[in-house]
């Protein structure tokens, strides 16, 4: 609330409604104590402050983010219809969301470590340093929860988390929404299911 509005509220005191006299100085102190974060449209002041804090925080480092970029593009590559996960901005999304949902921090950091260690065991190098074919050699062992070797179960959990975050990040991006051909979020007139679709499913509005 703006100071002007506080003072308007305070105006009530002169009308006999206030028990205590408002202390204008106290209000000014309260306001100047706040970190001045601008409130963007659609956010409350509290949210603006929380988001500014989160954006200032650094959690994943460059190596971790580089690894995420490579992995996410293995999970969702470019094809004839749309670009790849990283082209849609998935890396930045994951960078933010693990800070916003701290329960992802350790599984993500630890999972990436697990991957580098597995890569080291197999090929003597970190995941980002091995060849594309070598990467697939590892991924094939952790991408299928139903058939993966038991001793790689932690890798499977990590890959499942990566798949979920990558898909969510990709399909909620501008590119992913266009890929899915979602047609809404715009003013329109709903007139019911199109006729050809009704026909396709053998349904009608008269039944």
């Amino acid at each position: 609330m703006k100071r002007r509005d506080y003072l308007k509220n305070m105006g009530l005191s002169s009308l006999g409604l206030a028990v205590f006299n408002p202390d204008e100085k106290a209000i000014e102190n309260l306001e100047s104590a706040k970190v001045p974060v601008k409130r963007p449209n659609g956010r409350t002041q509290e949210e603006a402050e929380m988001e500014a804090r989160l954006q200032a925080e650094v959690f994943l480092n460059k190596h971790e983010l580089d690894t995420i970029t490579i992995l996410s593009d293995i999970i969702i590559p470019a094809d004839g219809k749309s670009g790849s996960a990283s082209q849609s901005g998935v890396t930045a999304f994951i960078e933010f969301i693990v800070k916003d949902k701290p329960e992802f921090k350790t599984p993500m950091r630890g999972g990436l470590r697990w991957l580098d260690s597995e890569s080291n065991k197999r090929f003597g190098k970190k995941f980002i340093e091995i060849t594309a074919a070598q990467r697939i050699n590892i991924v094939d062992d952790i991408a299928y929860p139903g058939t993966a070797p038991k001793h790689l179960s932690q890798g499977v959990s990590f890959f499942t988390l990566m798949r979920n975050l990558t898909a969510t990040g990709f399909f909620s991006s501008k590119m992913g929404i266009a890929d899915l051909e979602y047609k809404g979020n715009t003013p329109n007139q709903w007139n019911g299911v199109p006729d050809d679709v009704l026909k396709q499913y053998g349904l009608s509005y008269d039944a």
Binding site: K8, N9, F20, L180, K183, V193, V197
Partner: protein, 585 residues
């Protein structure tokens, strides 16, 4: 547009009426009373909110305009664009539970309260809902019946606008309905399946304007986002539809950031004289005086205010000579299930956002005399090609390994990566449906809220402590819901998701409070030893004190509560006007 300047305009010292809370109940009282010429002051703990003000507006934003892609946060529990400031836990405003029982309490701290983002399912109670004890011997009857409330439901329908259809159902009464939107594809499929099963399906009844009803509010343009608040004011929220026009009368003093602490009384007469409050921004203490006090801070908070308003004359709290304040708290039962419908794989894309919610629903259709539980539930349906956001595609490894779920009908290993995985997400998009049962519990005296003897909030106000348990009745009802959902899913040719909730999880029965229909904490009745309010929601003990939220409810009904809160608040407000005219107040 509501801006803060309208909040301060009255100059009077003693208001005709002081109302606490600006949600469904408080908004309706403020609207009715200011229109009748009363000078009204509304105390609202939360901040201003106007869905048409770019500062507050989230309608038509894309998921990528949110850092968390629309995920919920500690400050927006139902998603990053949802119009609820507040949530299950509010910093500095705790509540507690007794003896390991459960109760979750959702509070919104904003002008309009929880009506800014509610589901807009707008159901009247029927004649049976007021007289359950006469039917099954459990709980209590209301001191009023459907005929007493019907004229007010009618007025609310016309004033606020609700779509639906008159079906001539005895316990789901007809009303004054705007045209309903046509069912979506999955809704037609549900309807067809239900027909084969003998489960009735009707157009839903929700408060969005499918036709304009006045010049102040626009018409729905089918964005499917009512929970974000409508910038055209085409959906009902108390802030846009009640408080705004109330302010336009010039009779309303709307004080946001005003957290009521206690109702003040005159020690000599025992009458209410006003309300004390804390300004949440400055922490300064004020009082506001009124000839009449109306509590509408939500059922839980109204009990808290009464119990905290202690004096030598009212040692157990105000209006509590019966000791009933806080007791008979109840929330709707709820259980849900979702499914995937393979015939919808790779469906044709088109815009089916529709209104923000379901276009069809199923009211309670069975006879409890033939079942092993006493009360009914209605079914709410979800599904369709909604806007993808955070959570999209999550858990695909549980789906894409199933028989017949691949493009070519072959089985492949679950999970995976790469081009074929990308294909899977596209194929499954828009083929989910969900089912939610919302039912009536049996009200119990030993489900209650009280003042925690040890805990205060950051304003120094003693907080609520809840004690709530479901009984076998509710568990059996949830079991029935689960069986019904599976029947429908199978009749649609669908596959249920996850494991069927069993006895170990009370058949998926949601914890008390989770359905956010808390009612009953200051119930009405003819006997002042067993009720707090009379049938006009006037305190038995304090004649100038009224309650206008869901606290007066004697039972929950198998309907959502809000349309009844609105009708009762209107009825109580008209009673206040009448009594003032007659000089009784």
């Amino acid at each position: 547009m509501i801006n803060s300047s309208i909040y301060i305009q009255s100059q009077q010292e003693v208001f005709d009426v002081v109302i606490v809370g600006s949600g469904a109940g408080g908004g309706m009282a403020a609207h009715t009373l200011t229109k009748a010429g009363a000078k009204v002051c509304v105390l609202e703990a939360g901040q201003p909110f106007d869905p048409a003000d770019p500062k507050d507006m989230t309608q038509l934003k894309w998921p990528y305009e949110s850092l968390r892609r629309g995920a919920s946060s500690s400050l927006r529990n139902f998603g990053d664009f949802d119009a609820a400031y507040g949530g299950w836990d509010i910093e500095g405003e705790p509540y507690t539970r007794k003896d390991g029982t459960k109760f979750d309490w959702f509070r919104s701290r904003m002008v309009g309260g929880r009506t800014n983002h509610w589901g807009r399912i707008s159901l009247r109670f029927g004649p049976d809902d007021f007289k359950r004890k006469s039917i099954d011997g459990l709980g209590d009857d209301w001191p009023i019946g459907y005929d007493d409330v019907k004229p007010y439901y009618d007025k609310v329908d016309k004033m606020i606008g609700v779509f639906g259809t008159n079906e001539g159902l005895r316990n789901n009464p007809d009303g004054f309905f705007l045209p309903p939107p046509k069912p979506r594809l999955h809704e037609l499929m549900i309807k067809k399946a239900n027909k084969a099963l003998g489960i009735p399906t009707y157009p839903s009844r929700m408060s969005m304007l499918t036709k304009p009803i006045n010049n102040e509010r626009g018409q729905c343009f089918y964005c499917g986002q009512c929970n974000r608040g409508c910038s055209a004011y085409a959906d009902f929220s108390s802030s846009s539809v009640l408080i705004k026009p109330a302010a336009a009368t010039g009779n309303l003093t709307m004080l946001p950031f005003a957290m009521a602490r206690e109702v003040l009384t005159d020690p000599a007469t025992g009458l209410a004289t006003g309300v004390s409050y804390v300004h949440t921004g400055t922490m300064q203490e004020y009082t506001v005086k009124g000839k009449i006090v109306v509590l509408a801070a939500s059922a839980g908070e109204t009990a808290r205010l009464l119990l905290n308003s202690k004096s030598s004359r009212f040692p157990n709290g105000l209006a509590n000579s019966s000791g009933v304040v806080g007791k008979y708290l109840n929330d709707s039962t709820g259980a849900s299930r979702s499914a995937i419908i393979p015939s919808l794989f790779n469906r044709k894309r088109y815009n089916e956002d529709g209104v923000g919610g379901m276009h069809i629903y199923t009211p309670w259709w069975l006879d409890n005399a033939k079942l092993d539980f006493p009360r009914g539930y209605h079914i709410e349906y979800g599904g369709g090609m909604g806007m993808p956001n955070y959570g999209f595609g999550w858990g695909i490894e549980g789906l894409n390994g199933r028989e017949n779920f691949t493009r070519d009908g072959l089985k492949k290993a679950a999970g995976g990566y790469g081009a074929t995985l990308k294909e899977d997400y596209r194929r499954f998009y828009g083929s989910y449906v969900s089912f939610a049962g919302r039912g009536e519990p049996v009200v119990r005296e030993d489900n209650y809220c009280e003042i925690d003897p040890n805990v205060v909030d950051k304003y120094g106000i003693p907080v609520l402590r809840f004690n709530y348990k479901w009984s076998d009745y509710e568990v059996k009802q949830a079991k029935h819901m689960q069986e019904t959902f599976e029947e429908i899913i199978h009749a649609m040719g669908g596959e249920p998701m996850g494991k069927k909730p069993g006895a170990d999880s009370n058949y998926g029965l949601a914890d008390p409070g989770r359905i956010i229909h808390e009612v009953g904490t200051a119930r009405m009745g003819d006997n002042k030893n067993t009720s707090v309010l009379n049938s006009n929601c006037q305190a038995h003990d304090v004649k100038n004190l009224f309650v206008a939220d869901a606290a007066p409810f004697v039972s929950q009904g198998d309907k959502n509560a809000t349309w009844t809160i609105l009708a009762l608040s209107l009825r109580t407000s008209e009673y206040i006007i009448d009594q003032r005219k007659k000089g009784n107040l």
